[in-house]
């Protein structure tokens, strides 16, 4: 039933960024960081706006966590079987070992 509600993993990107890179909603895109790559469909949304950091336009993208490896759709071969968790750094707080997962740099391009 969960597969019915959200059938495939996706990446939320802002409309401006999508236009710059020629990505349309539903296109398969590749998100890569130093540690790995993640291939999923793009969700183009108005909800994300760009940020100006040090005078440069910087975008934020949204990826649902822990997705991609096993599941009904994945086992049927409908998705790319890449792991979201491969993108994030294995950095932890030295005292509590709390992972620092969610803020890191990635490159977004059409797959």
């Amino acid at each position: 039933m969960n597969v019915q509600l959200v059938p495939e993993p996706f990446v939320e990107i802002s409309e401006e960024m999508a236009e710059e890179r020629g990505i349309r909603g539903g296109d398969t895109i590749k998100v890569s960081s130093i540690r790995g790559t993640y291939i999923a469909k793009a969700m183009v949304t108005k909800r994300i706006k760009h940020m100006m950091i040090d005078g440069k336009k910087t975008y934020q993208i949204g990826i649902p966590i822990h997705w991609g490896y096993r599941g009904i759709a994945e086992d049927e071969g409908k998705t790319a079987l890449t792991l979201t968790n491969q993108l994030s750094p294995t950095v932890v707080d030295p005292n509590a070992y709390t992972p620092e997962f969610k803020g890191f740099l990635v490159k977004v391009e059409k797959a």
């Binding site: 039933m1 597969v3 019915q4 509600l5 959200v6 059938p7 495939e8 996706f10 909603g25 539903g26 469909k41 793009a42 969700m43 183009v44 949304t45 108005k46 909800r47």
Partner: protein
């Protein structure tokens, strides 16, 4: 399904009066959906699927959180998402729970030709009797395999036992409410007033279209002057005059024409007798002219 607490008010395609009409005092039920507190968690979609044992249907990614473009025969309850930019530049992510509105004057009931397929109970719930259904219309969605129509029943099976509908029970933010229609209207207006007074939604209001005589399901909207932003909610829904004409005066006209035609036939026969035969027609073996 227990019918003890439900009395039938109208029956589609039915000749004659409704059995048990007007014998008991009516109490209409209503469902209030407060779109301003909905978080789009889809718990109500899951609850409806689970309670009604709706079979699995394939969905595809559609560049939105919305599960599918519109309700299906096996998906009666759908949250519609809409990203809307207001005039002052702020962005709003509007979410509306879409399902049968249980109209006081159901257009589907008026148009349906099958006797007893669509039934409106005295408490306002519009329900289906699948066994009598012969075809499809709009929010009622047809299963192409057995040509039967399905839609939200407002959980008649739960309501008749004194429980609230499954979607209401599952909502985590408490944005769905259930009770008598009057109580729901009261709550809705209070909430709309609260929004008008304490937030910058000056146009907050209640959606209860009178074009169909009011609906069993009402909404509180941030912006009641633009209902179409909430996944295409019609501004002034009403039963089309063509359907009213077809099922009203035209029916009588048709009857008169048919009976009149038969009487005319009979009278003509009495006056003029059978068709007169002419000499040339009874020529055996001759060529026909």
């Amino acid at each position: 399904m227990s019918q003890a607490a439900l009395r039938i008010q109208k029956i589609s395609g039915h000749a004659g009066s409704v059995p048990g009409e007007d014998t008991q005092r009516n109490l209409t039920v209503g469902k209030l959906i407060d779109t301003t507190t909905c978080i789009g968690c889809k718990a109500c979609e899951v609850a409806c699927m689970e309670w009604n044992d709706l079979p699995f249907g394939e969905t595809v990614f559609g560049n939105t959180y919305q599960t599918m473009p519109e309700t299906r025969w096996n998906y009666w309850n759908l949250i519609l998402f809409n990203e809307h930019e207001r005039d002052d530049g702020t962005l709003m992510w509007l979410m509306r729970k879409n399902q049968c509105m249980h109209c006081a004057e159901p257009g589907c009931l008026a148009a349906c030709p099958a006797d007893g397929a669509i039934v409106q109970y005295t408490n306002g719930i519009v329900d289906f009797q699948q066994a009598n259904c012969i075809g499809p219309f709009d929010i009622p969605k047809m299963n192409p395999k057995n040509n039967r129509v399905f839609k939200c029943t407002l959980c008649t099976d739960r309501v008749s036992e004194g429980l609230e509908p499954a979607c209401i029970k599952s909502c985590p933010t408490g944005c769905l409410h259930f009770g008598t229609k009057d109580d729901m209207l009261d709550l809705a207006h209070k909430r709309a007033k609260q929004l008008q007074d304490h937030s910058n939604f000056a146009d907050a209001g209640v959606y209860d279209p009178q074009g169909v005589g009011g609906t069993g399901v009402i909404y509180v909207l941030h912006d009641s002057t633009h209902p179409e932003l909430y996944g295409g909610l019609p501004r002034n829904p009403h039963v089309p005059w063509t359907v009213k004409l077809w099922k009203g005066p035209l029916k009588w006209l048709g009857n008169v024409a048919m009976v009149g035609g038969l009487i005319g036939l009979f009278v003509h026969y009495l006056r003029y007798g059978p068709k007169a035969r002419e000499e040339e027609d009874i020529n055996p073996g001759g060529s026909k002219s």
